[in-house]
Subunit: 463 residues, 2 copies
């Protein structure tokens, strides 16, 4: 008599496990996180009605019954501002939602009809989908956990290119005057740290992405706290270690090193410990087109930043992350966003370019056996495709409205399908025009391949 | 041989203990915290030179040698923005520094000559003075720890006067429509919580002070988090407890109650545990004149808010605070700020009024044997006193520059030395004019009795 019951219980537990999924969305600033999450929620809310989710089997087969927003389990995490984002898109004229700062969360309760009716729950299933949105910049801090202040100091300066170095010039002059052995002057360190943060902000404005430490850009409640007031010291070498580590705690070197350690322990680690290690699935958004537009130094910088960022998903046994936090992300998507800014026949090239950009991290991930899918998508499609007859040839073109409100018919040109070479940059082969969102639709938001992303990220939970 | 050494060591330990003092400054918003702390740092930085600190014996006797800013021990606490405050005062025209948000800290290292030269440290002593600044509103949350959601709900609404109630009308209509037993609608609760927060902000704008929960006014990184999205439910009674507590976790009542508990545990408690219980001395600043100016309902509201606030300093054995956190504040000052806005002969009345306003809490504190001193002061003196012959009588008047830049000679009138009665309010006996800061001095900032406050708060550590 007990055997069948035990099996039914096991079945129930198994189903119970499937009833919650924690899906995280990240990307560097301006990658399109807010638009992605807004559209994702919007599509699922309209599922079964107007949403076009043909690439998601549960939707195509009419088994996706709907999704409702319910209370999120993490009370101290800001709620993802879905209503505000929809209000921005519905404004006259529509505008893109304000970017989120820090982490935010939203829980959807999804109802669906399983492919085979369940024994215990009648004919509908329920999935609690916890959606998280957090800055990709936070992942750029992971390598800080594997280094120390002295090594970080030497690496930061060695790694910067000419344009980055130029933005740091003012800070570097001030920092170079510091004597590591002198007693720390609190106000002076604060002023130089502010110059360093300004150089980081200037680099971000100029389109650079490989920026450390990430929290210097979005300090929040820690603005003005000493833990965000350190910087690399120019002119140090690893051979100085013994001498430097013998300096008294009031010295410039010891003060900055102590702040660096506090940042490691009390800023970087808590994010991984309290949030990251609880994510089940992850999508990383990349604004490949924006980087193409910004030129070679920034494009290479993006490649470097992404390589760093992807380390957070490399769960090889020897990885720092696995040892520290035992994360459990079991499926990863990487997506080139804003695909609506090029014509459809360019989309495969866009995906190929993304894969080329991430070639090295993808190799590591495949070696570590993390399932990963690359795709291109537009979370909210802002353009329509028109065929234009041009010198007797039918050429696809985009029609959209620029941010200034001008209606435009555009041939955006070709996306390189491999990493662009000097030749490409010399030709300036790609011009990116930003469009405003489409006029507010009555039903679901228009998109490109958001359903493909959904299928990869949660399709198996809706069977 | 060992006996003398042991005694010397004990002596050293005793002196060691005296070498650090954690002094906290608080007050409700606009009480003058930033001006007080700025002037305090400024006076100590100028000690021995231009500062006039005659009421502080160490300064009067020439034993106060100077003070230097050094690195603060709490790396995750924002630094008190002293330089920015001084820049505001030095601007042309000078303006009051921007108010601080949340907690901030600054450490001074004070050098002084002890009255008797020490055995171990030559002829100078050193005191590390850690200064903290935090919103008095945070202390208004203490009573939340001693109650639960149901009792809080009934008390908030019962306690509000007519003007407060009018500001809450819109929220109250929306909240009254909620069925405590219905399933919580996430977006609806967020919207009603925002109305509640707006009513709190409107009440603060209108001059009210007794505002709970305090973090709703300065949410910082928690903006948009469910933990800041609860509110009292109208129409509940303590007799409903059993029925309400049996409601399922998805119900409106259970959802709001869970958020209230999270606020207690993860917002209110950490401040007391991580900061408050480590303060040695405390000064509470009160803008008595501003409240006098605002009329009877707001003046009574201030009295109520101060009574609540002072509970955090009542260390009677049975007090909630003592049981939870074992705080160690051993000396307290309460100060009526902006004394320069009335003529000097009114200062004793101002102090007497402050003591009348705090009569009940002061009784409790004396019973609990907490040494407390009441005084009136001006952290940064913005007016000069002139004697004016008026109808043959010599009358003191104030000369200052209004916030609009107008130079004014003013008779501010009499401060009542007891709690004002209906008669006083009917006569509208007091008109408060705000002045801009004095032109930037070359030496220390001008003040009134800041040195008396300093003597009470740290004079014994400079002997």
């Amino acid at each position: 008599m007990r055997q069948p019951l035990t099996r039914e219980l096991a079945d129930l537990v198994e189903r119970g496990r499937d009833r919650q999924l924690r899906l995280a969305v990240t990307g560097l600033s301006r990658a399109g996180k807010t638009a992605f999450l807004t559209s994702l929620v919007n599509q699922l809310r309209h599922a079964g009605l107007e949403a076009r989710l043909d690439l998601l089997p549960a939707a195509r087969e009419g088994r996706l019954l709907g999704a409702r927003r319910v209370s999120q389990p993490d009370l101290a995490v800001p709620r993802f501002p879905y209503d505000q984002a929809m209000a921005a898109l519905a404004a006259e004229p529509p505008h893109w939602p304000a970017p989120t700062r820090g982490i935010s969360e939203l829980r959807l309760s999804i109802r669906y009809r399983p492919t085979r009716s369940g024994l215990w729950r009648g004919d509908t299933g329920q999935l609690a989908l916890d959606l998280f949105d957090y800055p990709g910049e936070w992942l750029l801090d992971l390598p800080l956990l594997g280094t120390d202040y002295l090594r970080w100091s030497t690496q930061v300066l060695a790694g910067a290119g000419a344009q980055r170095r130029a933005l740091m010039a003012e800070w570097e002059r001030a920092a170079a005057r510091l004597d590591p052995a002198a007693e720390a002057n609190e106000a002076e360190l604060a002023a130089i740290a502010e110059q360093y943060a300004m150089a980081l902000r200037a680099a971000r404005e100029a389109g650079f992405a490989d920026l450390q430490p990430g929290r210097f850009l979005l300090p929040g409640d820690l603005a003005g706290a000493p833990v965000l007031q350190f910087f690399p010291l120019p002119g140090l070498a690893d051979g100085d270690r013994e001498r430097l580590e013998a300096l008294p705690p009031e010295s410039v070197y010891a003060t900055l090193a102590a702040r660096f350690r506090h940042y490691q322990q009390h800023i970087v680690k808590p994010f991984y410990r309290d949030h990251f290690r609880r994510f089940d699935r992850q999508i990383v958004l990349v604004d490949v087109l924006g980087a193409l537009n910004a030129g070679p130094e920034r494009f290479e910088d993006l490649a470097r930043a992404l390589a760093t960022l992807m380390q957070s998903f490399d769960y090889g046994k020897r990885s720092l992350l696995s040892r520290l936090f035992a994360p459990r992300i079991d499926r990863l998507a990487i997506a080139a966003t804003k695909a609506d800014h090029v014509t459809p026949e360019q989309h495969p090239r866009l995906t190929a370019l993304l894969e080329a950009l991430l070639a090295e991290p993808l190799k590591d991930l495949r070696y570590a056996n993390v399932p990963v899918k690359a795709l291109s998508l537009a979370s909210i499609r802002a353009t329509d495709v028109h065929e234009v007859v041009h010198q007797g040839e039918r050429t696809p073109a985009l029609r959209g409205t620029t941010l200034d409100g001008e209606s435009l018919l555009l041939f955006p040109g070709e996306v390189p399908s491999r990493l662009p070479d000097a030749d490409f940059w010399a030709r300036q082969g790609f011009a990116f025009t930003a469009f405003r969102p489409p006029p507010s639709p009555h039903g679901a938001l228009p998109h490109i391949r958001l359903d493909a992303a959904l299928d990869w990220l949660l399709g198996d939970k809706l069977r």
